[in-house]
Symmetry: C2
Subunit: 227 residues, 2 copies
């Protein structure tokens, strides 16, 4: 049985090294920053996780999850996202409120609970942020993420997620009516000052390219149906 702290290290490693295509390992400082602890603390814990064969790690080297560590990390991420879905769908929490509470709920130990919750929610595939929920059998499809910056002028896309889960950011995008599974049109872009003009639900706003980089989108929407 892992401690809550150990679970958090595995989750951080999963986010940093597995979730996106291309990434494979993470440095100690990067891991420490993700968990908001000092590098010394992370260094120590990485040594312990290596002992437990949950990560691959050599002194002064980068870290990555072992098969076993990845499996456990995905179970935690699965719990986190199922709880987020519960809070959003059943208790009416908003997009930006769910993360903080799910950070606590994800550590509840009960196999039965999580499977019942999954059934209760109707086997959801995505959480309220549009992130894929790992399945009980360990299945998890990696998605090549495309951001708002990849969308050409005049094109409409579908928002599928965000890469910044801070309450500040989530509230900000909510203020622009940006939401999961909602179409978004890139009206125009000014590359040199890096500002995009966008339209969501008939409402136009400006967004910086730096922020647009945190908004993941999927396929173009040819017929901007219910905008």
């Amino acid at each position: 049985m892992l401690s809550i702290t150990e679970e958090n290290y595995l989750k951080a490693l999963f986010r940093l090294t597995c979730e996106e295509v291309g990434k494979t390992d993470a440095g100690t400082n990067e891991i420490a920053a993700q968990l908001d602890v000092k590098p010394a603390t992370a260094s120590d814990m990485l040594r312990k996780l290596k002992e437990k064969k949950l990560i691959e790690y050599e002194k002064y080297g980068k870290s990555m999850l072992t098969r076993r560590g990845k499996k456990m990390a995905m179970e935690i991420v699965r719990k986190h996202r199922l709880w987020e879905t519960f809070l959003y769908e059943k208790l009416g929490f908003t997009w930006d409120e769910v993360h903080e509470v799910a950070e606590q709920l994800e550590h509840i130990q009960s196999q039965k609970l999580i499977e019942r919750l999954n059934t209760f929610l109707g086997n959801p595939k995505y959480d309220p942020h549009g992130d894929l929920i790992p399945q009980a059998d360990g299945e998890f499809k990696l998605i090549e993420k495309k951001t708002l910056n990849d969308i050409a002028e005049g094109e409409t896309c579908l928002v599928v997620g965000v890469s910044d889960n801070s309450a500040e950011f989530l509230q900000y995008v909510d203020g622009l009516s940006i939401a999961i599974h909602r179409p978004l049109k890139v009206v125009s872009r000014k590359p040199f000052d890096a500002i995009l003009e966008i339209e969501v639900k008939g409402k136009r706003s400006a967004i910086s390219a730096r922020l647009a980089d945190h908004i993941f989108v999927s396929r173009e929407v040819k017929k901007a149906a219910k905008m």
Copy 2:
């Protein structure tokens, strides 16, 4: 903000000193036993809780909650029982399974979560064990508990709760078809060997007076309707 351990001490004190009429304070050994720690450990923590003005305690004396400590303890008990109700009502957990998981869920910190959960469950008054759920405003009606041993031969009563939440006990009473809000008839009793013959849902069983002491019952049921 209290630690999980501190919350558990407050909850133990609430159970031992507040929940039933008559009880007002608890000894160190009793508290240690409730929490499954050594008396030395409890002694130390009682000193700390006194520092924080959550309990009244003097060296070598008995302990009781202060007004502030009691309020916090009741919030934890409220959370515990709301989660038990959720697990039972919404996720189909059985009577004897809910306690263990609720022990973890009760420590989740989110005012909003617990109020939304309460609404979602339709403002329940009792948990699946028949125990009263403390209300958000701090209201909590003490109930004079009457046990199966207080019921005369030939009389029928209504089961309202149990005082032993161990999985073993809950499974045992479940095996006798004893359940909350279900009528139970005391067919006969043999005072000297302390065995009661009871009838639930037309099924007769024998139960020792020692175990009967852990089964709380309410008013007699004159017409044993749907037995």
